[in-house]
Symmetry: D2
Amino acid sequence: MRGIAAGDLDETRFRSWLVQDYLFLLDYVRLFALAAARAPGTDSLGRLVDLAHSTFHQELSLHRAYAAEFGLSEADLDRAEKTPVCAAYTDLLLRTAATADFVEVLAAVLPCMWGYSELGRAIAAGGLPAEPRYRRWVQTYADPGFAALAAWCAALLDRAAEGLPAANVAACERAFATLGHELAFWDA
Amino acid sequence: MRGIAAGDLDETRFRSWLVQDYLFLLDYVRLFALAAARAPGTDSLGRLVDLAHSTFHQELSLHRAYAAEFGLSEADLDRAEKTPVCAAYTDLLLRTAATADFVEVLAAVLPCMWGYSELGRAIAAGGLPAEPRYRRWVQTYADPGFAALAAWCAALLDRAAEGLPAANVAACERAFATLGHELAFWDA
Amino acid sequence: MRGIAAGDLDETRFRSWLVQDYLFLLDYVRLFALAAARAPGTDSLGRLVDLAHSTFHQELSLHRAYAAEFGLSEADLDRAEKTPVCAAYTDLLLRTAATADFVEVLAAVLPCMWGYSELGRAIAAGGLPAEPRYRRWVQTYADPGFAALAAWCAALLDRAAEGLPAANVAACERAFATLGHELAFWDA
Amino acid sequence: MRGIAAGDLDETRFRSWLVQDYLFLLDYVRLFALAAARAPGTDSLGRLVDLAHSTFHQELSLHRAYAAEFGLSEADLDRAEKTPVCAAYTDLLLRTAATADFVEVLAAVLPCMWGYSELGRAIAAGGLPAEPRYRRWVQTYADPGFAALAAWCAALLDRAAEGLPAANVAACERAFATLGHELAFWDA
């Protein structure tokens, strides 16, 4: 993050992140799709379908375009394999989406969205990097539209969790611990 | 179908169909979403997410607009409850999507798409009804784009089923028996 | 029920029930297994695995033995197919078990257990039928052990539902409406 | 493994394994339960329910008894948390069980059973350790009954995979790669 903010991040490291995040996003689409299938109401069904759709068409396209700027072809992305850290994260997300209560699924989804939004905004607040590709990366996640998305997800979770007994809230807190996987993802 | 083709179908009957099909489509979105989450490859993942998205945004909007022309408000649609026939169909689809093999899910999805496409084309081939609303209904399902969608679904199923042993093919044939629910839906 | 209580139920009808209930129980095992997989705690995990196990080994054996007394071989049972009423019930149960919250799964499971226990006890309270096979049927479901099982399931549901907000309780009430399928099963 | 075979494994290490394997087995029960719910035939349904049941009642009891001999109380086991290595393994198993085809679930299940059976037999063939607790550990997994179980699982997989096209076999091979998690589990 500091390297992106300074605009001097070693490209090899960024390429690794790009590849792994690309593979992560493919499962993130599956996660939104699975959450949509289990959404109790029409509103949340529609919003989660929209998220699956925009992640597949916009986020992944963005990644392919970025990847090209860093010398990675689509074939490079498709040939790549998840690291254990990436696989552990997406397997937890999809296990949760398939077997936990709906509110816990929302809690597991949130750290990724919220984290990127916060990181983008924090870096942008300190000044955008001069390097054009890293600048664009920061702008993507610092975008108010992205912050609004994270806020919507948080609001949906808050609404679903409102008034829940302590045991259910504790289950949500455990699900929110996907945050640890976010940190591990950066460390890797 | 004959009533729609002749353009003289009793409106009360059509209204019942509109309401039930609206409720069916909400679960059909869930079905595509669940199938997407289980799609083995990137292509089928993307296409199934697109189907969930277009069903939610286009098909359901179309239904709401139609419903208005037949004197049904959005509140009427949202207040409605599935008949046992409709519930039996969507529960089978979602049980299949959640527990059967992916190829069987495709087999269960196909009769609805294919059936509407065939019906639309057959009626249109015999001449469009004069009644403008029924005419539009026929045009929707007789549309080459809709036929292409059904053909894509059939091709995806054929590809996934190619070379499967007899026992797996038999399982697909059983899943395809959602066709019986299509007929029951019309009868109801 | 009145025919069983009087001991003069037409055997053809009872045979139909036996066959359909046999097929129902196979999916009931799947239901308990799916609920077990989603059980949040060790206790409920173990109890639901026990239910799947005892339903598969005891209830189904009982059915096969009964069926033999009514002239139905195991091959007859295995060849049989679910009626639409039976399929609609088990598809709803498995759709619920795969996609709803855990507490709703418990609410969907309860009517079957509780209903048979209540029916068995009510008939036994009015005097056991003289016909030995129907007498045994009543004794099975009037058994205090079976009542204890239903009471355990109700207690587990009550505990899981305790303190839930109104929207979640309403979802449980909708899931409990599998009761309607119990009635339809008897009517069929 | 070499430490167990020699009977001189550091107890602290074995205690870590005991605790993690206990937590693993709780999810292994869930895995068998989920596989049972998706089993296409009555035979595999029954066998998978039996596996869930025997893992819950026999394997976990065995672990609790062992744990006591190593100074670990039940409370110690219940308080423990999965390491990332253990969580990555069980999350993959449950994600696979919930979303992959049934034959892939069998492929994912096999490495654990087969591996322990092979290890137990290989160590026993070289002579049982003198240390009584490690000797019993080896005897448990060297047991012909355990080998028969692993052989049954392999035969079920072989039968389900027989005649499958290359793409489906490749998916099974990827699912079988849970083997890597077995190795990581020992390394941890």
